[in-house]
């Protein structure tokens, strides 16, 4: 407490009792009225939002990733206009590649074409990994938690990307490629219902061949506490560089028709059978689209 303020307060206190001419115990003055404080915007040193995403970091990443996206993978979209330019929507896609290459491609593509951010949800495992977890967070990733999804979709009307297959998708052996794994427990449908947003399915072809798994070493995975330990074709071909070096598979992304549920949002629970039906239907649609795209594909590398 500055002395001057104390003195003023004491003087005021004495004045108040001047009429009574008697002893007054001066109270410790309460903190003076709060000083004028600046807005957060002028105080802040960075632009990391409450989810951990930084538009500055994202912009740098976009610049670095753009050649990979358009020259290496030569990503090609179909039906991009089905993704709304405003309002919340839950994007779901098939998931592949030992270190999945589909998430950055989808996020980059939508941000580039629609100029709106995409928040990508991933297993909390990412958050435990030093550096990777922080980068993931700065680039728009966040742990898949229903509360996070709800807040982003319902309250902030953002685009959220999830992979309902989770690590079951990315840990698939090469021989199982483009065979969709179970879609979790349908949680993504329930979240979309509660948030009152459509689900937009995307079928991705190419990610599977960009980093195919030829073998897995469960003992190592267990020992170092990661979901799976893949041996990829990239590692065999490129050695340690194979951890980051993707094969230049041609990426094709097809946006399927948005699925609206027409249920009342914000309910505590929804019919489990309806959830599972919807989840299964979305899975079937993505699966059918994948087969369709694979039928049309003449070459893994040239599409």
């Amino acid at each position: 407490m500055p002395k001057r303020v104390a003195a003023i307060a004491a003087a005021e206190a004495i004045e108040q009792v001047a009429s009574s001419d008697l002893v007054h115990v001066p109270s410790t003055p309460r903190s003076p009225a709060r000083p004028v404080v600046e807005d957060d915007a002028t105080i802040r040193h960075g632009d990391v939002d409450e989810w951990g995403r930084s538009e500055n970091m994202r912009r740098i990443a976009r610049q670095l990733y753009e050649p990979i996206y358009s020259k290496w993978f030569r990503a090609e979209w179909e039906g991009l206009e089905k993704i709304p330019t405003d309002g919340g929507a839950l994007i779901v896609a098939n998931h592949a590649g030992a270190i999945p290459s589909d998430a950055p491609a989808i996020m980059h593509g939508i941000e580039k074409e629609l100029e709106r951010p995409v928040y990508g949800m991933a297993d909390y495992f990412f958050r435990k990994v030093p550096v990777v977890g922080t980068m993931w967070s700065r680039l728009g990733g966040l742990p898949a938690h229903p509360d996070n999804a709800y807040r982003l979709l319902r309250e902030q009307k953002q685009l959220v990307l999830v992979f309902p297959e989770g690590t079951k998708g990315t840990s698939k052996h090469m021989s199982e490629r483009y065979q969709l794994a179970r879609f979790g427990r349908g949680g993504f449908v329930e979240i979309a219902m509660r948030a009152g947003v459509p689900v937009i399915p995307i079928a991705v072809v190419g990610a599977e061949e960009s980093m195919p798994i030829v073998a897995k070493v469960p003992a190592v995975a267990k020992a170092i506490g990661i979901p799976y330990m893949p041996i990829t074709a990239n590692m065999l071909a490129l050695g340690p560089l194979g951890l980051v070096g993707y094969f230049p598979a041609k990426f094709k992304l097809r946006v399927l028709d948005p699925v609206y549920f027409n249920v009342e949002p914000d309910r505590e629970r929804y019919s489990k059978s309806r959830i599972m039906d919807e989840s299964e239907r979305i899975r079937d649609n993505i699966q059918a689209a994948l087969y369709d795209m694979l039928r049309e594909r003449r070459s893994i590398w040239f599409g």
């Binding site: 410790t28 903190s31 030093p130 550096v131 742990p143």
Partner: protein, 366 residues
């Protein structure tokens, strides 16, 4: 048209308030604020140590750590409001055992006293901390008051507060006529308070965890006091998170304080912290190491919806803190402004020679 009256104002008889932990930072500040309120008739402060702030009419009672004498005091003074601020949320303050005595046993005795058959207690406010949500990688970005911890709690502070909250819930359930509110405060920062985080931020180089830059939420110490008074005045019951708006990455917090960070190794950081603790007095308990990995955010909207307005966001609270640090660096802390002298205090409170007037009504948060 007359302004709608708040329940606290409509009170016809004065409150008789018991504040636990009077000698602590919070107890002292709450008592000071209550003294300025003419609707509060009696303020009794309990603690094991003497008050460290100047108080005008609060009666200080020295008790043992776990308040075994409490029932008597509550009955004798016809206490109707208990503000339980004496919960240790900083594990560096005392040993695990002492913390258990203070938090768990202290709270147990407090509620035993408050739920006696002839108890006059009608309001209870407990100051807990957001540490009860735990801190794990599975956590949502925002905890609401209803979000359960993602994993079973196992760190001492978390478990201790969880047990305390268990007593609070039981008490609220058994005594539906009592308005019970439980406030969970986020990381407190401000001009005066000292916590492991403020100590870390005052070091020349701020410890961080290599490869992690979690987001932290802060609440200003003034908002802590005013939220407690707000809840008291408005008879709010239930659980409320109290935290400023916004989350700041730890490196940005350090940068706001003009510091750079020193990354601790994410595996076995204790190996580096041990010498730091021995030679530099840097105490960073495991709860905080974990916060440096994953941070914690809580949803503060419930209390806002109840009408409370915060004076500070997280960033503003950090700025207030560092400005106070800079001021102290220049002018020093000086000798303690006040020391408790029993006879003098007794004289002022009880001697007929002292003329008592009603202090100015300056509570801001009405």
């Amino acid at each position: 048209m007359p302004a709608p009256q708040l329940p606290g104002r409509a009170r016809t008889t004065g409150r008789r308030v018991l504040v636990t932990g009077l000698g602590t930072f919070w107890g002292g500040r709450i008592a000071q604020a209550l003294e300025a309120d003419p609707t509060v008739d009696v303020i009794i402060g309990l603690d094991t140590t003497e008050p460290t702030v100047e108080l005008e009419r609060t009666e200080y009672v020295r008790v043992d750590a776990n308040y075994s004498i409490l029932a008597k005091i509550v009955r004798a003074a016809r206490v109707d409001t208990i503000i339980h601020t004496f919960l240790v949320v900083d594990p560096t303050q005392m040993s695990k055992r002492a913390m258990h005595e203070t938090n768990v046993i202290g709270t147990m005795n407090l509620f035993a006293a408050a739920s006696a058959p002839d108890s006059t207690v009608r309001n209870v406010i407990v100051k807990s901390a957001t540490a009860v949500y735990g801190c794990t990688p599975e956590d949502p970005t925002w905890f609401t008051e209803d979000t359960p911890p993602s994993r079973p709690l196992r760190r001492p502070i978390e478990r201790s507060l969880d047990q305390v909250e268990g007593y609070v819930r039981d008490f609220a359930e058994d005594n539906p006529h009592v308005v019970v509110s439980l406030l969970r405060f986020s990381n407190v920062i401000g001009t005066e308070i000292e916590t492991p985080l403020t100590r870390a931020l005052e070091l020349p180089i701020v410890p961080s965890m290599f490869g992690f830059d979690p987001r932290f939420q802060f609440v200003h110490e003034d908002d802590v006091v005013s939220s407690i008074l707000y809840v008291l005045d408005n008879d709010l019951s239930g659980v409320y998170n109290v935290a400023g708006d916004g989350l700041l990455p730890w490196t940005e917090v350090a940068s706001l304080c003009g510091k750079v960070t020193f990354p601790l190794p994410p595996y076995l950081p204790e190996a580096l912290l041990w010498p730091a603790k021995q030679f530099a007095g840097v105490k960073l308990p495991e709860e905080y190491l974990n916060l440096l990995r994953f941070g914690r955010g809580v949803d503060n909207r419930k209390l806002k919806q109840a009408g409370f307005t915060y004076d500070y966001t997280s960033a503003q609270a950090v700025k207030a803190f560092i400005e106070a640090v800079r001021l102290r660096r220049t002018i020093g802390t000086g000798p303690p402004a006040y020391s408790y002298e029993r006879d003098v205090e007794q004289f002022f409170r009880h001697s007929p020679a002292v003329v008592r007037d009603v202090p100015a009504y300056d509570r801001r948060k009405r």
